[in-house]
C-alpha cells in the first residue's frame, strides 16, 4: 500500500502544496487566503458589529453568520452565480465547524460575519474555505480557543488516500472531509460521500486527522508571519 503513486504523483498520505496568507483584504476587519493545490479560497471577516436585521440579535452572545460562495469561474464549466442548495449547506456546516471554537459570549448583541469566496475549485473546497475562515477570524481579533484545521481523505479504487483532488474526486469511491480541533482532538465537521464499512471509516478519519495536523502547523506559521514584526517589540 505504501508504494502506490496517485494521478498527480503524490504518495497516499501526502497533501497538495499548502499556501496560506493572512491579511489579504484591505476593507475587511480580518482576512486570509488559503490554497491547497489548485483549490483557492479567500475569507473575509467583518465584526463583531451591530446586528441587522435587528430580530436576529441575541442578548447574551454574538451570532456567527457564514456565507460560502463559489465564483462562477471557479470550475472548468461555468457555474451559475448566486446561492444554491450546495452553498447553503456548506455555509451551515462551516458555521457548525467554527462555533465551538469562538467565545461568542464576549460580544453580546453583535454579529460576526464570515464570507468565504472560492476562486478556484479542485475538490475539498469546504475544507479550504474553513481553513481560510479560521485564519481570517484570528486576524480580525475575534477571541477563540484554538485554530481549527480541515482536510479531506477518501478512497480511490481500493486505496485510502489523503486530500482528494481532481480526478480522484470525480472518479473516486469515497470523499470524507473533516474539520479538526487539534488541542482537544475534537472533530467539528464530518461528512461522507460514498459507501464503506466501519473499520475503513476509522482508517480514513485517522488519515484525514493527520492531514489536519499538517495544515494546522501551516496555519499557525501564516498567522505568526503577519504579526512577526509587531511581536519584535
Amino acid at each position: 500500500m505504501e508504494t502506490i503513486i496517485r494521478t498527480d504523483g503524490r504518495k497516499f498520505d501526502e497533501t497538495r502544496p499548502i499556501v496560506a496568507e493572512v491579511g489579504v483584504l484591505k476593507n475587511a476587519d480580518g482576512s486570509a487566503m488559503f490554497k491547497l493545490g489548485n483549490t483557492t479560497a479567500i475569507a473575509g471577516v467583518f465584526g463583531p458589529r451591530k446586528v441587522y436585521p435587528k430580530h436576529e440579535e441575541e442578548a447574551e452572545r454574538a451570532i456567527l453568520r457564514t456565507k460560502y460562495n463559489m465564483a462562477p469561474f471557479a470550475t472548468s464549466e461555468r457555474n451559475r452565480p448566486g446561492t444554491n442548495r450546495r452553498s447553503t449547506e456548506i455555509s451551515l456546516v462551516t458555521r457548525q465547524a467554527l462555533t465551538p471554537l469562538i467565545f461568542l459570549d464576549e460580544f453580546p448583541k453583535t454579529a460576526i460575519d464570515v464570507h468565504i469566496e472560492v476562486l478556484q475549485a479542485d475538490a475539498s473546497t469546504r475544507c479550504v474555505g474553513i481553513n481560510a475562515a479560521v485564519l481570517a477570524l484570528a486576524d480580525a481579533g475575534v477571541p477563540m480557543k484554538d485554530l481549527v484545521a480541515s482536510c479531506s481523505a477518501g478512497k480511490v479504487g481500493d486505496a485510502v488516500v489523503l486530500d482528494i483532488a481532481g480526478k480522484e474526486d470525480t472518479e473516486g469511491e469515497l470523499d470524507l472531509p473533516i474539520a479538526y480541533y487539534p488541542k482537544k482532538k475534537h472533530i467539528t465537521l464530518l461528512q461522507m460521500d460514498g459507501i464503506t464499512d466501519g473499520k475503513e471509516v476509522k482508517e480514513i478519519i485517522k488519515l484525514a486527522v493527520k492531514g489536519c495536523e499538517k495544515i494546522y502547523e501551516e496555519q499557525k506559521r501564516a498567522l505568526r508571519n503577519k504579526y512577526k514584526l509587531e511581536g519584535a517589540d
Partner: protein
C-alpha cells in the same frame, strides 16, 4: 522584559487567565493574537488586532448620532453605542421644556468624553464631567487600530507631545482608536500618526519619528495666520490625551 507573540490556543503557563486569555484545568491559553505578559501568576495577552470594546474610565472620541428626550446617543467606533445623559453632560441646570438639546451638542458633533460605566449587557454611559472632556470643533480625524493607541501616546505622552509641539497642532487621542488633529500642520501630523501605526513594533520609535518629523517640517510651507483663526475660543492648555 521580552514579550512573546502568541496566537489563539498557545499555552501561556500554569496560572490564572486574565484579559485575552482563557483557563482550562488550571492552565492558561491565549485567545487572540497578541503579546503575552504575566503579573503575579495572572497571564494576559495584549491584543494586536480587533475592534474597540468600551471599558470604564477610557477617554474616547465620539460622534453624536441621535438625540433623545434627555440624552445623546454617541457613536464611539464600537458595536455598542454610548449614551450621554443630560445630567452627565453639563453642570448647569437645563430646562428641557424651554431649551433645545441641539444647542449643546448637535447631530454630527464630535466630543471627547469619558466612559462612566459599561454594564454586563454592554450599555455604555458617557460623562463630560472630567475637565478634559469637551466638544471638538473643526480639525480632522484619523482612525487607527485601538491596540496601537498607547504607541501614539508614547511613554507618559512623550510621542504625542512631540508631534504637537513640532507641528504646532492640538491632538486628542481617544482610547477607541480615533485621533483628532487640528492646527497649523494637520497634514504632517496625520502622516506621522499613520507612520507610527505602521511602525508600531519598532524599538526607539520616538527618536525615529522625530527624524522623520524634522525632515517633513523643513519642506513645510509657512503658515500665515488668518484673521478668523484668532477668533476661535481659546483651547485649554493642559495635555489633551486622556489618562485615567
Amino acid at each position: 522584559m521580552e514579550r512573546k507573540l502568541v496566537i489563539p490556543g498557545d499555552f501561556l503557563g500554569d496560572g490564572r487567565a486574565g484579559h485575552g486569555a482563557y483557563e482550562e484545568d488550571g492552565k492558561s491559553f491565549s485567545s487572540c493574537i497578541g503579546l503575552t505578559e504575566e503579573k503575579n501568576g495572572l497571564f494576559f495577552v495584549i491584543p494586536l488586532s480587533g475592534i474597540y470594546s468600551p471599558k470604564r474610565g477610557d477617554g474616547v472620541i465620539g460622534k453624536i448620532q441621535d438625540i433623545a428626550f434627555s440624552r445623546w446617543i454617541v457613536d464611539v467606533n464600537s458595536p455598542y453605542e454610548a449614551v450621554l445623559s443630560l445630567a452627565d453632560a453639563s453642570d448647569e441646570f437645563i430646562d428641557l421644556t424651554k431649551s433645545d438639546l441641539t444647542k449643546y451638542f448637535n447631530y454630527g458633533d464630535l466630543i471627547f468624553a469619558e466612559i462612566l460605566s459599561v454594564s454586563k449587557t454592554k450599555n455604555v454611559q458617557l460623562s463630560m464631567r472630567n475637565r478634559k472632556c469637551r466638544k471638538l470643533r473643526g480639525g480632522r480625524l484619523i482612525k487607527v487600530t485601538p491596540a496601537k493607541v498607547p504607541r501614539i501616546i508614547g511613554k507618559a505622552g512623550s510621542m504625542v507631545e512631540m508631534i504637537k509641539e513640532m507641528t504646532n497642532t492640538q491632538i486628542v487621542v481617544g482610547q477607541n482608536g480615533i485621533v483628532w488633529v487640528k492646527g497649523d500642520h494637520e497634514d504632517i501630523a496625520m502622516d506621522i500618526i499613520t507612520v507610527i501605526e505602521r511602525k508600531s513594533h519598532v524599538h526607539g520609535l520616538t527618536d525615529q519619528v522625530k527624524v522623520i518629523l524634522e525632515e517633513k517640517m523643513k519642506n513645510a510651507p509657512k503658515v500665515e495666520r488668518r484673521q478668523d483663526d484668532e477668533e476661535e475660543e481659546p483651547e485649554p492648555q493642559e495635555e489633551d490625551e486622556f489618562r485615567p
